[in-house]
Structure formats: C-alpha cells, structure tokens
C-alpha cells in the first residue's frame, strides 16, 4: 500500500476508502467525525478530491459508430446442451425416437421367451385356421359342384322331356298325315274303279 500524506494519523489509510465510497455507513460516519477533528486527514481528503476532479476533466467521447446486431443463427447465444436440447424440436423428436427404439430393444431383449411362445402359438393357430379354411373351401366347392350338376341334370331332363314331347307330337302329326293320305289314296282308287 502506498504512503499517505498524513502518516501520523492511524486512520489515514481510510481516507481513500472514504473518498471512493467504499466504507460502511457506520465507518463513513465515524470518518466524517474524524475529519472534523483531524486537519491533516481533512487536508489529505481535499488533495485526493482535487486529484480525482482533475482526472475527470477528460470527458467521455461519443462512440464513432453505433453498435447493433441483427438476428443471425451464426451469432446467436451459445446454449448449453440441455437448453439446446429442450429448445430444438428436431433434436427433441430424434431423442424421443431414440428413447422409443431403446425401449423396444430393451423389451425385446428381456421378454424374448414370451415372444417366442406367442410366435409359436400364433403359428399353431395359423395352421389350424389354414386347415379349417381349406376344408371349408373344399366343402363349398363340392357343394357348388353338386348344385351345378343337379341344376345341369335338371336342365337336361327338361330338355329331354321337351324333346320327347316334340317327337311325340311329330309322330302324332305324321300318323295323322299318313292316315289322311291313305284315305285320300283309297278315295282316288275307289273313284277310278267307279269310272
């Protein structure tokens, strides 16, 4: 610490703290009382005030150019990883996906036997379902075939019956035509004999 201009006084070192307002209110009040009774310290305080007043004759100068910032991602405040994580939608989404994927992997790793059972059960059930479906399909096909055959036969029978009836009708017509021709022939022969 530098020397004071009033080394005889034990409170001289507090003069500068007083001048620069670095004392507590109680210390400040005590020093003010001291200055009233110690002319050496009071003179030192005046010299100090004169020096600082002289220093303050140098004025502040105006800033040549105003400083201003525009919004730019490159210049934006640096964020801690935790803050950056919460402030970023994509990062949060990616992290959520990672957590989900991790959860699935964990679950699959720790519940593998159960999954196998389920898979096996599912396979067995599938076989039964396949057999039942095949059987049902076969039955349906057979039934359809039978129905088709029955319908076809009925149609054929109907056609045959119609054909038979038609034939019968033709035979009757032929018979009648024959009998008519025979009568006509006899009549012609008979009239020829008469002549």
């Amino acid at each position: 610490m530098s020397t004071s201009d009033n080394p005889a006084c034990e409170r001289a070192d507090l003069i500068r703290d007083y001048a620069f307002d670095e004392l507590t209110p109680a210390e400040r009040q005590s020093m003010e009382q001291h200055f009233a009774s110690c002319s050496g310290c009071a003179a030192e305080l005046d010299r100090l005030r004169l020096t600082t007043a002289a220093l303050r004759v140098l004025p502040d100068v105006e800033v040549p150019r105003r400083i201003a910032f525009v919004s730019d991602k490159v210049l934006e405040p640096k964020q801690g990883w935790w803050r950056a994580f919460w402030n970023s939608g994509p990062r949060l989404g990616f992290a959520s996906a990672c957590v989900l994927a991790g959860g699935l992997i964990f679950a699959s790793a720790h519940r593998q036997p159960e999954v196998r059972t389920i898979v096996q059960t599912a396979s067995a059930s599938q076989a039964r379902i396949d057999a039942a479906v095949s059987k049902a399909v076969s039955e349906a096909v057979e039934k359809t075939h039978a129905d088709d055959a029955r319908l076809t036969q009925a149609a054929l029978d109907a056609v045959d019956a119609k054909y038979e009836a038609k034939q019968q009708e033709l035979l009757v017509n032929l018979q009648q035509s024959y009998e008519y021709m025979q009568k006509q022939t006899q009549r012609i022969v008979r009239s020829a004999y008469v002549q």
Binding site: S2, L55, P64, I67
Partner: protein, 181 residues
C-alpha cells in the same frame, strides 16, 4: 442504480429468449462506457471501436453464462479487459502488454493545460495502475467489481489504485495549481 440493474436484468432475460432487440438496447446503454474504457486503455479510437464490437458480440454469444444478471456491468468489462489484452498479444507478440501497448507520446512538461497534464500523467502510469484508475475514477466500479474484472484480489486492486493516485497527485499538483490560478 437499483432500477437500472432491474432493467438490465429484464433486457438480459429478453436476450436469452432470443430477442435480439433486447440485446441491442443493452448495447445502446453500455456502448459508450465500454468504448471509452477501451479508448483510455488503447489510446486508439479505431482499435477501441473494433474491440467494442468484439466485446458485445462475445457478450451476446455468452449471455447465458452470466450467473448474476445484476453484475452484468463487471462481467461486460471483464470481457472488454480480456479482449484488449488479447488484441495486444496478437498485435505485438514479442512484447509484454504492460510495457508498450498503452504507451502514448506525451512527454513530461509538455502539458499546456490541465487536460493535457492529466493525459500525460495517466500515460506515465503502468498499464495496471492506469486501468485501476479508469475503472474506479471514470467508470465508478466498486473494489469487488474491479477485482472481478481484473481477476485479482481486492487488495491488489486497492494497491494499484492508491499507488497510482499518489503518483497522479504529485504529477498533477502543479497543473492543479495553474488551473486554480
């Protein structure tokens, strides 16, 4: 002063939310003080302007690292202090900053008025003593804040300041006498 601190804290909060205008208001509030502090350290207006821009850019980028928003001023000046010394090291890597960076050509006895006498007296202080005077007399920081800015103990700050004031008192006494006539 308390009202001012609250306002600064509000602007810092707005900046942290991504409002660039909040930070621009902070800049407009502090740029003159930062510029003059750097000017008194470097003596070069162009260098001081460039350094001021760097200081505020760094402050903007690191605003979330500021723990106590009420201490924005000392935090900002600490950045300014570091930027000034960092710039010196880049400029003159072969010399120590405390010896040459802040030297200016003002010879003793050449002062023709009080302001020139003051400039000359300040120039003859060591850079550390001059910076202590600038932070205390011109910027009005408390010893604890100066210790934060300069990253040294309060006792060191007081020692530098009081030694400087003793030297200045001797240097400026004749000029004060002339000025008082």
């Amino acid at each position: 002063m308390i009202f001012r601190a609250v306002e600064d804290a509000d602007l810092i909060a707005r900046t942290r939310k991504g409002e660039i205008e909040g930070f621009n208001l902070l800049v407009s509030r502090w740029e003159k003080r930062v510029f003059n502090y750097l000017l008194r350290l470097t003596g070069d207006p162009d260098d001081s302007m460039d350094l001021s821009q760097d200081v505020f850019l760094k402050a903007y980028q690191n605003i979330r690292k500021l723990d106590d928003t009420a201490r924005f001023g000392p935090w900002l000046f600490r950045i300014a202090h570091n930027e000034a010394y960092s710039a010196f090291r880049k400029k003159r890597p072969e010399t120590a900053p405390e010896e040459n960076f802040f030297e200016r050509q003002t010879a003793p006895g050449m002062a023709i008025d009080l302001s020139l006498a003051v400039r000359g007296a300040l120039d003859r202080l060591s850079p550390e003593q001059r910076e202590a005077v600038v932070l205390k007399v011109y910027e009005g920081f408390k010893f604890e804040e100066m210790a934060d800015i300069l990253e040294c103990p309060v006792s060191t700050v007081k020692s530098r300041l009081y030694t400087a004031l003793d030297l200045l008192k001797t240097e400026l006494a004749p000029a004060n006498a002339r000025g008082g006539r």
